[in-house]
Every structure is written in C-alpha cells, then in structure tokens.
Symmetry: C2
Subunit: 218 residues, 2 copies
Amino acid sequence: MTAGTKGVARADREAQIVEVACRAFGENGYAATSVSDVAEAAGISKPLIYNYFGSKDGLHAVCVEHAAAVLWSEFERSTATGTVGLARAVLTLDGMFRALAPQRWIWRLVFDPTAPAQGVSADALTAYEERLFTLGEDGVKELMRVAGNTDPDDVSAMHAVWESMFRSLVGWWLDHPGISPDAMSQRCVRLFSTVFGDLDALAITPGGGLASDAVPSQ
Amino acid sequence: MTAGTKGVARADREAQIVEVACRAFGENGYAATSVSDVAEAAGISKPLIYNYFGSKDGLHAVCVEHAAAVLWSEFERSTATGTVGLARAVLTLDGMFRALAPQRWIWRLVFDPTAPAQGVSADALTAYEERLFTLGEDGVKELMRVAGNTDPDDVSAMHAVWESMFRSLVGWWLDHPGISPDAMSQRCVRLFSTVFGDLDALAITPGGGLASDAVPSQ
DNA sequence: CTGATATGACTCACGAGTAAGTTACCACCA
DNA sequence: TGGTGGTAACTTACTCGTGAGTCATATCAG
C-alpha cells in the first residue's frame, strides 16, 4: 500500500480503529491480540495506531472506556427503575442481553482475564469495577440486612457469589448464540423460580422488555 | 554452577520440578511463568526441564494432571458420602477448603484463564473438566427434575450458575487468606440459609468436618 | 569407560515500539 | 484560475527485548 493520506479525518479513523479493536480484544482477549492484528483488520498500518493511541495499552484503554460505558449505562438504566431484589436482577439481566445482542464482544472485552494488570487500561477497568462493585455491594447489603445478616465478610462473599451468578448467566448466553434476549430472560425467570420459589409476578412482556413494576414473590 | 550429575535420580528431580512448577503456574498463571523462572526456583537449569518434560506445555500438563487429581479425589470423596442437594454442596465446599488449605495454588492452576488452549496440557484440562462437568450436571439435573424442570438448556444454564457459585466461593476464600476452612464452611452454611431458608440440619462439627448425615431443609 | 545427569551459550520467532520518509489535501497568494 | 508551501495522514523497514527451545560439552556414579 502506498503512503500518503487517504482523505480520512483523524477522528473518523480513530473511531474506526476503536471499533475494530474492541471486536478483536473482545473476541480474542488482550494477550492474544497483537497491534498488527488490529491494524490489518482495520486496513491500515501499525504505526498509525501508535500515532493515534500511543501504545497497545492506550488503544486498549479507549476500548475499555467505550465498552464500560455501554455496560454501565445499562446498569444505571436498570437501577433507575427503582426496582429491588430479584425483580431488579432479572430486569438488569434482560437489559444486558438486549444491549449486548448487537455487539456481544463488549462483555468479554471488559471481563478479560488476560487484560494487563497495570497501566492506563487497567486504571480504566479498575475505576469501572469500583463503580460496579459499589452498586452491587449496596444491593446485596440491603437484601442481607433484611434477611438479618450484617456481617461484612458474609456480605462480601455473598456479593462475590451474586456477581459470579450474573456473569455466568451472561456468559452462558454468549456461549449459545442462537438464543434471543427474550428467550434468555424468560429462562432466567424460570431458573430463579426454581431456586427461590414462585415468581409469577415477574411477567415478561414478549417484545418490549420486562414489566418494570414487577416484584419478587419472596 | 558446574555441570555434571549431583546424584539426584531423575524421578526425584522430576517430582521436585513439578512441585515448584505447580506453585509457579498456580500463583502467577501459565502465561506469566517462564520456564527459566521455574528452573531458577528449582535451583536447576532450563535445559534439564526440557530434557525431562519436553516442553513448557509438557511440564504444565504434568502439573495439571497432579492438581486435577487432588481436586478430583476431593470431589469423589464428597460424592461417595451419598449426600445430595445443598448438604452435598456444603460438604464438597468444606472438603475443598481443607484440601486446598496447605496448597492453595492448586486451584488457580486448574482454573487458569491464561492456560494454553491447545496441546497436551489443554487435553488434560479438558478431560478433567469433562469428568467434573458430568458430575455437576447430573446433580443439577436431578435437583431440577425434582423441581419439575427438565429442559436441557435450563439444566445447562443452571449448571453453569452452580459451578460459578462454587468457584466464586472458593475464589473468595482464596482471596481472604486469614480465614480458616472451618470458618469458611460455616460462612457458606450461613449464606445458603440466607438464600434458601433455614438449614439448621446442616451442623458443622468444629474440628472434623461436616456431619455427613446432614440433610437440607428444602 | 559408558551413560545418566547436568549446564553455558546459543538460535529463532514474535510482538511492541520507532525513525524516517511519502503522498494528498488545503489555505493562501498571484 | 492555477500554482505552492505547510501540514495532517499514512507506510516501509527497521530496532529491541523476551521467552521458547536446542546444541555441544562437562562431570560424576557404577
């Protein structure tokens, strides 16, 4: 390919690179993705990426920022409904499936075990995780207070369990690409009822998400 | 260091290398552990490792085999008690904490996200995971049958949730080194009762593990 | 003196990051 | 309208470090 500008403005090129990189990082993981891979997938050369993003870590940070914003806005949306407990859990899961459906790689980009432990992108991830942590911990703490357990370590462990349940449901869905967000939300409701008892109050409205006034039966 | 034998038989040297390598792989992950690291930690030179294990992957495979055997024997022991449901869950967790206490790195060695996806060690891991998968899936399937849900995808998703809960409890414990297996088992019982209701039938016998005749109240 | 145990010093591949140069667009001027 | 310099956009071809894997050689037990 000959050198020289192709008439693409920096902002446009950056956006294009970030989109390609998000996908690459998300589908293959940070460690298994080389900058050359991203460059090739974007149809440009490696130095251009270094020109615009400084380093592999810098590029990753922008991707993480983008992905975390997508997930976070979804969590905030669910929180804003004012529901609590299992209803909120199902609502959040449902929102996540819908948000993720057109860009599934976003999830693994944020929860990437091969992401660097230090540097700009690690800082971005940490910041996101702290916000998320607070959100989840508060919810769990409140539920456990109601159940009569206020031990901090118990709350912390329960929170870990809750987060991993959430992640495993999303992960399972990502591993079964044929299943629609709707069907998966209904599956979650079924599973929750199996474990926690009847949850009929949690009705799924077929095309448009969950009824936001639903309340868990427990 | 001068060359030449030091009077250590191959079998002994291999065992020593594997022990050191298990620790290194488990604590730092496969990707972040170089063969030179292991050699240095074992007080020998890199070529000796290649002489005995063929490759980094070969060494890792032996470590994985060893670690998987430890975990598997613990799972089998719990299974052999004949308990079912939550009682078995708590029993298995308790056994795992005790088995892991003197060699905590074993766990992360088996559940290492940076482990290679192909090769001998990947095959060993896959084999172990398949056995474990069957064990867990059968248990979950039976419980869900009792609850009236036999949908294969529901069972599969529930199984994923169950495994991730198990892993997150062990992971949380590993992240809190000050907590004894006993204390952690009791915590698990508390958390299960919070979620599933009263479980008083599940008594912990302070020094010697769980009462094996315990039955969940659900 | 033979073979098992052991090592120092290498090669090689790969991926992050860089130096230096090339081309096209565009504001400005005649 | 048609040059013309400046700059933003872009690439080729490199360096450099790291870690997997190998080769030739050295030492010691039996």
